[in-house]
């Protein structure tokens, strides 16, 4: 029998969860995501979100917030649609919808920091200005959400099945 070399299918996004006592993971659905590049100040003021955005292991909260990716780029995340058009804005920035491009996972529990230790090289004692980092070997956005024992991870949608499988494997060892 040929060796199985394919990644498993991504579990049902609406219902599948991972629970090992010290760690609980689920797929966050229904979030709208917008990549804002360039001079972001005017647009973030209009949307009433932070122009700085949270960095790696920084704390985000609320139904609408921003995540810092680079010196001139942030990701706006919202539970509802933002009143903003895709494309170039005369205020000096460009907006791209990322809702379908990035899968969002929320992981909570007392072993959250242990998971971050296993998946990244970030220092837990400080925060980094950009939330973009390597997590489990792939590019991801990583920040805390609502409290210190809850993180959110955004990964490329095409790598979401791999990331979920990595979560299942590592969480079984915690």
């Amino acid at each position: 029998m040929a060796e199985q070399r394919n990644w498993q299918r991504l579990p049902d996004r609406e219902t599948k969860t991972l629970d090992v006592g010290v760690l609980h993971a689920r797929n966050v659905t229904g979030l709208s995501q917008y990549l804002i590049s360039g001079a972001t100040g005017d647009l973030t003021s209009r949307l009433d979100v932070s122009s700085e955005g949270v960095g790696a292991l920084g704390l985000a909260s609320g139904a609408r917030y921003t995540v810092r990716l680079a010196r001139d780029r942030i990701l706006a995340v919202s539970v509802d649609e933002l009143p903003v058009e895709s494309g170039w804005h005369v205020s000096g920035c460009a907006v791209s919808r990322m809702t379908g491009a990035l899968e969002v996972f929320e992981i909570s529990g007392t072993a959250c920091d242990e998971l971050v230790k296993r998946g990244t090289t970030l220092s837990l004692s400080g925060s980094s200005r950009s939330a973009a980092t390597l997590f489990a070997g792939i590019s991801a956005l990583l920040y805390r959400y609502q409290d210190q024992d809850r993180i959110r991870v955004h990964v490329d949608r095409g790598l979401a099945a791999y990331y979920w499988e990595w979560l299942e494997t590592v969480s079984a060892e915690l």
Binding site: G55, A56, L69, A70, R71, R73, T121, L122, S123, G126, S128, R129, S130, A132, T133, L134, S139
Partner: protein, 87 residues
């Protein structure tokens, strides 16, 4: 693991960075660039022993920056965002 200082993000693992060549190796401009100048730009590298100024990219945030480091003991002396003339 070695930590490199991204001017924007701060210390990150070396695995997040990509080497971009010698700092100051500027592309020759103009129509009268000789073959030897092009060859030097494309192929000749300083490869110094000791202090070295290099261009690096932090792949996760996209920051392009100059890093001064020692190629013998791998200590990093400084890092700074590139000015437009060196991009």
């Amino acid at each position: 693991m070695q930590l490199f200082p991204c001017p924007f993000c701060g210390p990150r693992s070396e695995s997040e960075f990509h080497f971009g060549g010698d700092f100051g190796n500027l592309r020759p401009e103009g129509s009268d660039v000789s073959a030897s100048e092009w060859s030097a730009y494309l192929h000749l590298r300083a490869n110094p022993k000791g202090s070295s100024s290099e261009v690096w990219m932090h792949m996760t945030c996209g920051e392009l920056f100059r890093m001064d480091r020692n190629t013998v003991d791998n200590t990093v002396n400084s890092s700074a965002e590139l000015e437009d003339t060196h991009r």
